[in-house]
């Protein structure tokens, strides 16, 4: 596998050519991808909020936001601005410190998880060897924040919502982790880059979804439950709990929850794209395209086109999954809390365990096809 374009090396090298010491050059580089990722994640949220509103409207045969910018694209911006200018209230008998800390603890891990989302061979903030494990570890910090804000609100509904959120996140993290484990078993690495590389070479046929169909379904269901989207939005079930742990929140603190939930949705969709749908890989292998065009795979312009196509492919796959999540929202009714826990513990957990066992067996039997 060739390395492709490496922006980091080129950038640092050019700074060093200007006379900067190596350490300083690296320090100048470091905040750039992080900032880019935060901006990217926020823009991704705006896009998915807009999509949510437009697709929801289309499903219900409405028009949706129309006059706030062309086709209503500025509607999520208007939402955000409104939330920024709203009064930031803290209930009289709430714990102000925990109340403020709650949404922060919910949002930060979600944004941090973008560290390990790859958009190309070198288009990643940092290629941690522990890749997916970092994501799973970070996502288990979120329920602490939810519980914290639910408890600090000094409100029955908020407390119930927080408890439900914690129960739900904890029970769905296990099938999620087991589904990821089967993938890791096949690619012999936790690094997201290695996972995508293991799927490359055969275009659409090489993607993990064909080798892990059960894992894919389990992962997507568990990811939706982690994001607290409808069939699984029990923590904020408005008919029962007003708004769950968000009940007492307004203004910027509410905006953090709102932002966090959508960032989490996009992140989960990106992770599904990376783990099961071949990440930045095109449905047709790049080597084949290079062959058809009669150019070398290391051709400069082909690599630039390939890198931008790779980013587009990752986003396309992720937004296709966001679309299915939105469609599911208007198709499936909310489950009860007992059904939710039954589904998690009695269905997804055994199925993902069996899936892991089968993957291990297949790996020993056919090391060629299932990553030796």
């Amino acid at each position: 596998m060739d390395q492709g374009i490496d922006l980091q090396q080129t950038f640092i090298q050019s700074l060093m050519d200007l006379g900067l010491p190596a350490g300083a050059a690296k320090t100048v580089w470091m905040p750039l991808p992080m900032l880019l990722m935060i901006i990217g994640a926020t823009v991704g949220v705006l896009v998915s909020v807009w999509l949510e509103r437009k697709i929801s409207a289309a499903v219900q045969q409405r028009v949706g936001p129309e006059f706030i910018g062309p086709l209503g694209v500025l509607a999520p911006v208007a939402d955000g601005l409104k939330l920024i200018f709203k009064e930031d209230t803290v209930p009289a008998k709430a714990d102000p410190l925990l109340f403020t800390l709650g949404p922060v603890i919910v949002v930060i891990p979600v944004f941090l998880s973008y560290l390990i989302v790859p958009f190309g061979q070198n288009l990643i903030v940092t290629n941690v060897g522990m890749g997916v494990f970092v994501w799973i570890a970070l996502s288990s910090v979120v329920p602490i924040g939810l519980l914290m804000s639910g408890y600090a609100s000094n409100n029955k509904y908020a407390l119930l919502g927080g408890l439900r959120a914690a129960a739900q996140s904890i029970s769905y993290e296990i099938p999620l982790a087991l589904a990821v484990m089967a993938i890791v078993l096949m690619s012999n690495s936790l690094s997201t880059i290695d996972i995508v590389n293991q799927q490359s070479g055969y275009g659409i046929l090489g993607w993990n979804i064909w080798r892990q169909p059960i894992g894919f379904v389990v992962f997507w269901i568990a990811a939706l439950a982690e994001c607290e989207r409808i069939p699984f939005d029990l923590p904020e079930a408005e008919e029962e709990l007003v708004a769950g742990y968000q009940t007492e929140y307004s203004g910027m603190k509410f905006a953090l929850f709102y932002l966090g939930s959508y960032v989490n949705l996009v992140l989960s969709a990106l992770m599904v794209a990376v783990l099961y749908l071949g990440g930045w890989e095109l449905p047709i292998p790049t080597a084949l395209i290079a062959n058809w065009l009669g150019v070398s795979e290391t051709n400069a312009w082909l690599e630039i086109v390939g890198a931008s196509l790779g980013i587009t492919m990752t986003l396309l796959k992720a937004y296709f999954l966001v679309f299915t999540a939105i469609l599911l929202r208007w198709t499936v009714p909310r489950v009860r809390i007992d059904q939710l826990l039954n589904l998690g513990w009695k269905f997804l957990l055994p199925i993902s365990l069996v899936n892991l066992l089968i993957t291990a067996a297949l790996k020993t039997a056919f090391p060629g096809a299932f990553g030796g």
Partner: protein, 202 residues
């Protein structure tokens, strides 16, 4: 062992069935996405009110005989009829008439019972004002001709569902002479008259 396997098999069957039903549901919601929105884009598009619509009440001053039937049939005795007996003509002389639409429930009793048909229902329903006392219409305001959706050049007038031709679900881009499903009132009337005539001849 067999019993356990059967349980597993049944469970798997149920799972497949559930997946199938979710798939069917997704197909329905996906299909709805390509349909034209059913919503009326209000200030730009408006529905034509039906012929029995009970909107703002129109009042013809000159027809009124100040009998106060409208007041007596009104659930809250709302119309204010201000008259004076004119000894010269030996008739009641109407000086003012008013209805407060902030209080009116648009039941239409006054229109129903008016002996001279000086009250009538219009299709006007946009009565929003900044001060509720502005809704207290006097005889001049009551005598104004109603606003008609079809006469407004800024508004696309849309027919209600009931007034669409048979099988048509979409009020947009209808030809102006498209006939609604079923018979029109004047046709039903003509039919009745013809029937009555035939019976009389017998």
């Amino acid at each position: 062992m067999l019993k356990f396997l059967k349980q597993v098999g049944d469970y798997a069957k149920e799972t497949v069935q559930a997946a199938k039903y979710i798939g069917q549901g997704l197909a329905v919601t996906f299909d709805h996405m390509q349909r034209r929105p059913v919503t009326v884009q209000y200030p730009y598009e408006k529905l034509i009110p039906s012929e029995r619509f009970r909107g703002r009440i129109h009042f013809e001053f000159d027809k009124c005989i100040s009998c106060e039937v409208c007041v007596r049939v009104c659930p809250i005795y709302l119309p204010v009829v201000d008259w004076e007996f004119n000894p010269a003509t030996k008739k009641k002389q109407l000086s003012h008439y008013s209805i407060d639409f902030g209080v009116c429930i648009f039941c239409g009793n006054c229109v129903e019972y008016c002996p001279t048909n000086c009250l009538s229902m219009t299709e006007e329903y946009e009565l929003a004002v900044y001060d509720r006392h502005e809704l207290n219409y006097d005889s001049v305001a009551l005598g104004r001709l109603p606003y008609k959706v079809t006469d407004d050049p800024m508004v696309t007038a849309l027919r209600e569902f009931l007034y669409l031709p048979k099988g048509v679900m979409e009020p947009h881009n209808l030809p102006a002479d498209a006939r609604r499903a079923g018979q029109r009132p004047e046709e039903i009337l003509a039919q009745d008259v013809a029937q009555d005539l035939a019976q009389e001849e017998k």
